[in-house]
Symmetry: C2
Subunit: 205 residues, 2 copies
DNA sequence: GTCTATAGCCAGATAGAC
DNA sequence: GTCTATCTGGCTATAGAC
């Protein structure tokens, strides 16, 4: 039995580190700022996590671990292709509206630390999408959807869901949307993004 | 007349800085590494650009200035909506295949330096997309496309074009594509992404 | 314009008291 | 476990010779 009392400091640190790392990234973050946000002392960070690098990895793995299973659960469910797309889009956008820094954090760190990927793949942290690909091929074969490379469809689904969060400043610059309008646009995407995808692939019978 | 000789060192520095900043970001980059890559001494960086911050801004503005006009030219052309989408998608993807670090660099820095946006907007560096929006509304009004919020369509177009570059490590992890397959997928997107968009909005008459 | 040498600062990490 | 004080290294920036 692992003792469960007194794990407050440790989880306070992780929570504070999450906030700071997600806002500032690995290099932009300061241990002092994390300590302040956790309401403790710098030395304690090292007592619990030994180094900045290790603290960062703990945060990253927790963040990634939060996203991956949600995706996996839907991808590998018994739902029809159309239902999967609607379900995933709606769930994902709702989730990320509550954790807006998450996608950018993950993407950014994966881009600057390619070794993370190998590690994550090796540890089987990536949900398998083979079932999804097969489903797309079957739907194509029976003429229910327009022929499409399953990888392309997967990329499109991810792009339409993730990019509005990562590209927010850029998109706001172009479209001149204010913050409120942007949030409404994101809300609308819970169904609008799925509609867009379904329309793109569906064949009238 | 501004003298044009002897601008080699200055442009060597900018080129080296571009490479390092795009790979490592503002905080990850080291002045020493930039100096090495430019084949000169650290002190010279300061001689030409005064500080890391100013050098960074020079790189960023050059990068952003490379992308924005291409987009603007197409958006504000006389092409039909469908042609604009096909033209933009094909041009953008071809361009970024040659400059793969660019989108991530721009997005990342816009996300961590919100003041950049205000500056860019103030300096009118963002192409105006009002003409595009109007075109979408007209096409909707005459029943040529499915009704869609023009902002949503714009977001979708950007997402489908930009995300495959920014999310590359993530997408490779999920789809298990190797590097060669991934590049082929990107090539295919020059037309496939546009097809996807057109199919999503087009109405059979 | 270009270099070497170094100042000055700041952040991560540690020692050691309590 | 938690704190204060301090070490240490690395990085930006500058001084000054050539």
């Amino acid at each position: 039995m692992v003792s469960k009392k007194d794990n407050n400091t440790e989880s306070d640190i992780l929570e504070a580190a999450k906030n700071v790392f997600q806002r500032k990234g690995m290099f932009g973050a300061r241990m002092q700022e994390i300590a302040n946000e956790a309401g403790i002392n710098k030395a304690l960070l090292h007592y619990y996590y030994r180094s900045k690098q290790l603290l960062f990895e703990a945060v990253f793995k927790q963040a990634f671990g939060l996203m991956a299973p949600k995706l996996s659960a839907i991808i590998n469910s018994e739902l029809s292709l159309e239902e999967k797309i609607r379900e995933f889009t709606s769930n994902y956008i709702s989730f990320v509206i509550k954790h807006p820094y998450l996608p950018n954090f993950i993407i950014q760190e994966l881009n600057s630390n390619p070794q993370f990927i190998e590690q994550l793949v090796a540890e089987k942290n990536f949900p398998d999408i083979a079932g999804f690909k097969k489903q797309v091929e079957e739907m194509t074969a029976v003429g229910k959807i327009r022929p499409i490379n399953p990888n392309q469809l997967f990329v499109n689904i991810m792009a339409l869901n993730v990019f509005p969060f990562i590209g927010k400043p850029l998109l706001k610059g172009f479209t001149k949307m204010d913050e409120k309008t942007y949030q409404e646009m994101l809300e609308e995407r819970k169904t609008a993004a799925a509609d867009f995808i379904i329309n793109a692939i569906k064949l009238e019978q």
